[in-house]
Amino acid sequence: MTQQLEQALARQYEAGFVSDIASDTFVAGLNEEVIRRISAIKEEPEWMLEWRLRAYENWLKMEEPDWAHVSYPKIDFQAISYFSAPKSMKDKPKSLAEVDPELLRVYEKLGIPLYEQEVLAGVAVDVVFDSVSVVTTFREKLKEAGVIFCPISEAIKDYPELVKKYLGAVVPRSDNYFAALNSAVFTDGSFVYIPKGVRCPMELSTYFRINEQNTGQFERTLIIADEGSYVSYLEGCTAPQRDENQLHAAVVELVALDNAQIKYSTVQNWYPGDENGIGGIYNFVTKRGLCQTNAKISWTQVETGSAITWKYPSCVLKGDNSVGEFYSVALTRGHQQADTGSKMIHLGKNTKSTIISKGISAGQSNNAYRGLVHMGPKADGARNFTQRDSLLIGDRCGAHTFPYIESRNPGAKVEHEATTSKVSDEQLFLCQQRGLDAEKAISMIVNGFCKAVFKELPMEFAVEAGKLLEISLEGSVG
């Protein structure tokens, strides 16, 4: 049985094609000059450049962290190019009709037909290709509702007060090594502002794609939900198949003011490296949300890609009665390594957090959950419930759990549970005896395993996630 399950994934990474798009790319290397050039190309105001430079100074003094359960060769930060933009983007298109058809074909190949989305699905999309936002759809319609959804490079120019107030408020420049780097060299990302009491009329979505080689992608996203508002945001990611590792060090900050709600969903399918573990994206991301009184932030993620994943979508539950949720399915196969989880910091009274993390390991991968639940001294009546389940497919992979629990308040309650299981021989035999082949059986069982998380995803994503998981597991049984 183990032999059956053991086969390494034969599946070809579907998004692994390279698009031949002429681009402007900086020479590799990082120094103050590079940052100034990025700022200049983006036509940023002085204060933004200063902010970046301060971050760069911080970064120079920091050390790359090494405590995660992942191992990788040292990154040469001087060998990365920090900016790349398709040439045809020199003049920013105002609508899809003006976008280079080549670029649109890239997205179509990825199964993201923008026109269709625009017309039928009614999902507003911000499309980021390498370091630039290609187009943001539905802007006019959103504007009517008062919703701002645009690339952050524009927001810096058009809505400086908002950006100044909130950028770095949730993830300070000095928070960690990769956040500092991102703060210095971020090139684009999404900016969202939902005004008071508004329920955003459609789901907002961003697709990131790293195309140009030897570049790093450092996107920065800032979502602000003003009092009593609601927004659901979807993030999807892909990258071509390359032999070298590419770095994706993003920062996502969410601010949910009193009574506001933000739902942030990610389906991540970055290139995971080939069957020998060569190449693949290093996904080192800092995602954090701040909740004020009665606010709620939900993080839902399905991670199947990246050679290495290092991310802990977190919630700072500052306001009383605020709620933080984290639902995650992380699949690792081949030689992938993941060290991911969530941090829930309970500061306010009666705050509540739920963490449901499902890890599936196959091949020779390692899948670790790292979480922090912190109950501050003032968190009277706070509650946390954490459930971590690992499913091992084959006997050469690893599943790990490192939950940190810190409590400073007697009235706060923390409950953590972790289990480990495998697709048992009996279960597989039952399915096969009922006519299902082993792959189908495993796919069904894994889906059942992930149910609790999938039902938290917005509809479109749930379907995509299910399919992605099924495709990812193909070949894990021989």
Binding site: F429, L430, C431, Q432, Q433, G435, D437, N447, G448
Partner: protein, 254 residues
């Protein structure tokens, strides 16, 4: 339908089947009885193709195909059904989803159109009623939290929906009270016809009061030591297996 010739099989280096012969024709119901450890369940597992059960000698033909050359799911799609003695739980996977996939896999093999969601639901409802399982069982995980009796009835329900050619029932009566026993028996009897065959593996004669077998075989020491009609089962009921010691000159470990 099924021809077994000189079957030798072992599990974990222990030889369990030692030259078993059996012929089953379409429409027949065969009961296999015998003392514990004789190899009754092993026969079921070997026929279904379970990993860890190695055939060391012999041939098996199922509907003119060399059964031993087929994978587990190929044997199932070809029409072989094994009702387990201890059905396993698969939490998170609903009975509904599981059955639908299975039914459609069978249909695909038979070159039939897959059932639409509503047609499947209709069929599932009927099957549920037949085995007296409430409809909401379909929503629960496969065998999740089911009692022993409910698990056995679930097995019969699957048999009804999958329409197999050969049904092997491995101790489908163990642990059941009289009512549940009747439900199981009714389920089996309702599926009897001229083209479908049954192998009923049982330790006790009780089930055979409800499902009249055409033939009864005694499996001991890894082979069939005696065959007869339903009367043979009665004899075992009265005298146990010891009488075999005189009948054959083998020592039966009962």
């Amino acid at each position: 339908m099924l021809t077994i010739k000189n079957l030798h099989a072992r599990v974990e280096q222990i030889q369990i089947l030692n030259g078993l012969d059996l012929i089953i024709n379409p429409g027949e119901v065969h009961a296999i009885m015998g003392p514990n450890g004789a190899g009754k369940s092993t026969l079921g597992y070997v026929l279904s193709g379970r990993e860890g059960y190695d055939v060391t000698e012999g041939e098996v033909h199922f509907k003119d195909e060399n059964l031993l050359a087929l994978d587990i799911e190929q044997r199932a799609r070809h029409g072989l059904f094994l009702a387990f003695q201890y059905p396993v739980e698969i939490p998170g996977v609903s009975n509904m989803e599981f059955l639908k996939e299975s039914v459609n896999a069978m249909r695909l093999h038979r070159r039939q159109e897959p059932l639409s969601a509503s047609d499947f639901l209709k069929a599932a409802k009927t099957a549920c009623q037949q085995v007296q399982l409430p409809l909401d069982f379909l929503k629960r995980g496969v065998n999740e939290g089911f009692s022993g009796g409910e698990k056995k009835r679930n097995e019969i329900m699957q048999m009804i929906l999958l329409e197999p050619s050969l049904c092997i029932l491995d101790e489908s009566d163990s642990g059941l009270d009289v009512d549940a026993l009747q439900v199981v028996a009714n389920g089996v009897n309702s599926q009897r016809n001229a083209t479908r065959s049954f192998v009923i593996i049982t330790h006790y004669q009780r089930l055979l009061d409800y499902i009249q077998p055409d033939f009864v075989h005694i499996l001991a020491n890894g082979k069939i030591v005696k065959s007869g009609t339903a009367a043979l089962a009665q004899q075992i009921e009265k005298e146990g297996y010891a009488f075999l010691n005189t009948a054959t000159s083998l020592e039966i470990k009962a």
